[in-house]
């Protein structure tokens, strides 16, 4: 099953998800050596704890600029916890604590004197369930721009963000309609438009397609591919095919068990997506990507 990332190429017929996959695969350029890539995050020895119990232990990995990095692994391996550390979203959880360093462009964002609001201003996030504001479609994108002081050429910015999120054509005639009137897939693309409108540096995506149908999913995958020249994406997914389709780099997290039923997530392997799916070096990665995970 090593050919997981290369779906059948003899598939004929109308444009299908399979064709999309093939197209995305073909678009992927081969990665330059890792030393030559610009590092945007340098995570070192990161432990994340809820109420003193570790959820993720000792994660060390770099995230590279203008690539899509996928975090895969079984449920409960701490994927979401990890990605939420990258923009200090876990600060909102009272019992949360962490040790280790996360350097963002060289600056440790876990430091006490770093303002989490400024961190999130640069590192946006799209969540598992679409969470548009109960405002109009236009205001969902424009509100953040206004609050953050990007008030000039507001209409233009909104249109640009909606176009980038592949939603403009579907909503341009009803921008004043409530965002809640959109379908789930459209809502999620609106949330992506809202996140990229404020021009972040990195966009974190926490299982952005898990609540969506395959067509909406492929739209989102396509837009990540189209936008990665401008942004850096980190995507958590439980869908291995999705990781294989969109990611340049893939990190595999797994669950480790300790004494007295203690369990925590840890990073097992972090490599180019191609290597993870075709030639993993760890047995656990191989079991997982080939579906033999127990």
């Amino acid at each position: 099953m090593a050919g997981h990332a290369q779906p059948a190429e003899d598939h004929d017929g109308p444009v299908s998800t399979i064709d999309r996959v093939v197209a995305l695969q073909a678009q992927k350029r081969t990665l330059p050596p890792r030393e030559r890539l610009e590092r945007i995050f340098q995570v070192e020895g990161l432990d994340a704890l809820y109420g003193g119990k570790p959820a993720v232990k000792d994660v060390t990995m770099d995230v590279y600029k203008n690539l899509v990095t996928a975090i895969i692994g079984p449920s409960g391996c701490g994927k979401s916890t990890f990605i939420r550390c990258l923009n200090r979203m876990n600060d909102l959880i009272p019992a949360f604590s962490q040790t280790g360093t996360i350097r963002y462009h060289g600056q440790d964002i876990t430091a006490r004197d770093v303002d989490p609001v400024a961190v999130r201003r640069n590192i946006g996030m799209v969540f598992q369930r679409p969470n548009p504001f109960p405002k109009s479609i236009y205001d969902n994108v424009a509100w953040g721009l206004r609050v953050l002081g990007l008030k000039d050429r507001l209409d233009e910015r909104v249109e640009r963000a909606l176009t980038q999120a592949a939603l403009w054509d579907e909503v341009k005639d009803r921008l004043k309609a409530s965002a809640l009137s959109l379908s789930g897939g459209q809502q999620q693309r609106l949330c992506i438009a809202r996140a990229i409108a404020v021009e972040p540096d990195v966009v974190l995506m926490d299982e952005p397609a898990s609540a969506l149908d395959p067509i909406a999913t492929s739209a989102i995958e396509q837009l990540m591919h189209d936008l990665k020249s401008e942004y850096t994406f980190v995507i958590v997914t439980h869908n291995m095919q999705q990781a294989a389709r969109v990611a340049d780099m893939t990190a595999f997290f797994s669950i480790s068990r300790g004494d007295e039923g203690a369990r925590w997530g840890e990073l097992v392997e972090y490599e180019s997506t191609e290597k993870i799916f075709t030639d993993p070096s760890d047995k656990r990665t191989e079991d997982y990507v080939t579906g033999r995970f127990g």
Binding site: M89, V119, R121, M125, F127, N131, P134, W143, L148
Partner: protein
């Protein structure tokens, strides 16, 4: 355990008729209890209406009281209605901002143990008898200064505060965390998120809670007896002085020897009752509306 023999004799042997009778009995008891609750309300409203309707006319709210009124001089309680309006209005102005801020602090910013202990304190405050609050405010403001509308309003505000804070807290908890996260993930500060994203979702609930609190305190007598009850018969609106209020007026008129005063007390009681009924209905209507709004926002 089940049997396939469905003849009456077999079912009787299983005790089915007895269980069926018990079921009927319990249903009847529950129905009677519900009827009793509604019955008390109906009887009360009806008896107040029957005795008060006769004296209910426009004079009641436009004319000031006439003392020792044994003739047919037009007499009313305009001073009491004006006083209640001023005092309840002031009390709302005091309790509303504090109650909302307390709720926002507890739900959005406080650590869990602070949240639970302050919530408990609010519940205790809610349970303090109104007369105790009256005495407290009497000792605080009235001794050495004399009675005033402000003192009465402060006493009512003490009663309103836990009601407003509690109801605001409830609607704040209904706002999905995902909305806050959406705003915070954009790099919007927490105060701005609370003000622009969370609060607008809860406006309906806050209004509902406030209307209910107003309805509750508008009929309070005990705290006002100590703080704003020594009054003349003139109509005035200045809360620096003691103001007459509807509940206190009812209390005083009912002690009078004059039957005309009794009729007026009943009429005032009827007006108060109708006011509370209307505010409660408004609150219910607002509550269903706002709940629908919040749940569709999910």
């Amino acid at each position: 355990m089940s049997t396939h023999n469905l003849t009456k004799a077999a079912l009787r042997a299983e005790g089915l008729p007895r269980r069926r009778a018990m079921n009927r009995l319990m249903e009847l008891v529950a129905w009677l209890a519900a009827a009793l609750a509604i019955g008390i309300l109906v009887v009360m409203v009806w008896s107040v209406a029957r005795r008060g309707a006769g004296a209910l006319n426009l004079d009641l709210i436009t004319k000031t009281p006439v003392q020792f009124n044994f003739g047919n001089a037009p007499s009313g309680l305009s001073n009491a209605f004006a006083g209640t309006l001023v005092i309840v209005g002031l009390a709302t102005a005091m309790a509303l901002p504090v109650g909302i801020l307390v709720a926002i602090y507890l739900n959005e910013f406080a650590r869990p143990w602070i949240r639970s202990s302050v919530s408990l304190a609010l519940d205790v405050l809610n349970g303090v008898p109104a007369i105790v609050i009256g005495i407290f405010v009497f000792g605080l403001f009235v001794v050495g200064h004399g009675q005033s509308g402000y003192a009465g309003a402060f006493a009512l505000a003490c009663l309103m505060l836990p009601l407003v804070a509690r109801s605001t807290l409830e609607v704040l908890a209904l706002v999905p965390a995902s909305l806050r996260e959406a705003s915070l993930a954009l790099g919007v500060p927490r105060w701005r998120t609370t003000l622009s994203i969370v609060l607008p979702q809860t406006l309906g609930g806050i209004v509902t809670g406030t209307v209910l609190a107003v309805a509750r305190v508008a009929g309070e007598t005990a705290p006002l007896l100590f703080t704003t009850s020594i009054v003349g018969t003139q109509l005035h609106w200045d809360p620096h002085h003691a103001l007459q209020t509807v509940p206190v007026a009812i209390f005083e008129l009912s002690e009078s020897a004059n039957p005309a005063d009794h009729a007026q007390a009943w009429a005032a009681a009827l007006v108060l009752l109708l006011f509370i009924l209307c505010t409660n209905l408004t609150a219910r209507w607002l509550a269903t509306r706002s709940r629908r709004k919040i749940t569709t926002a999910r």
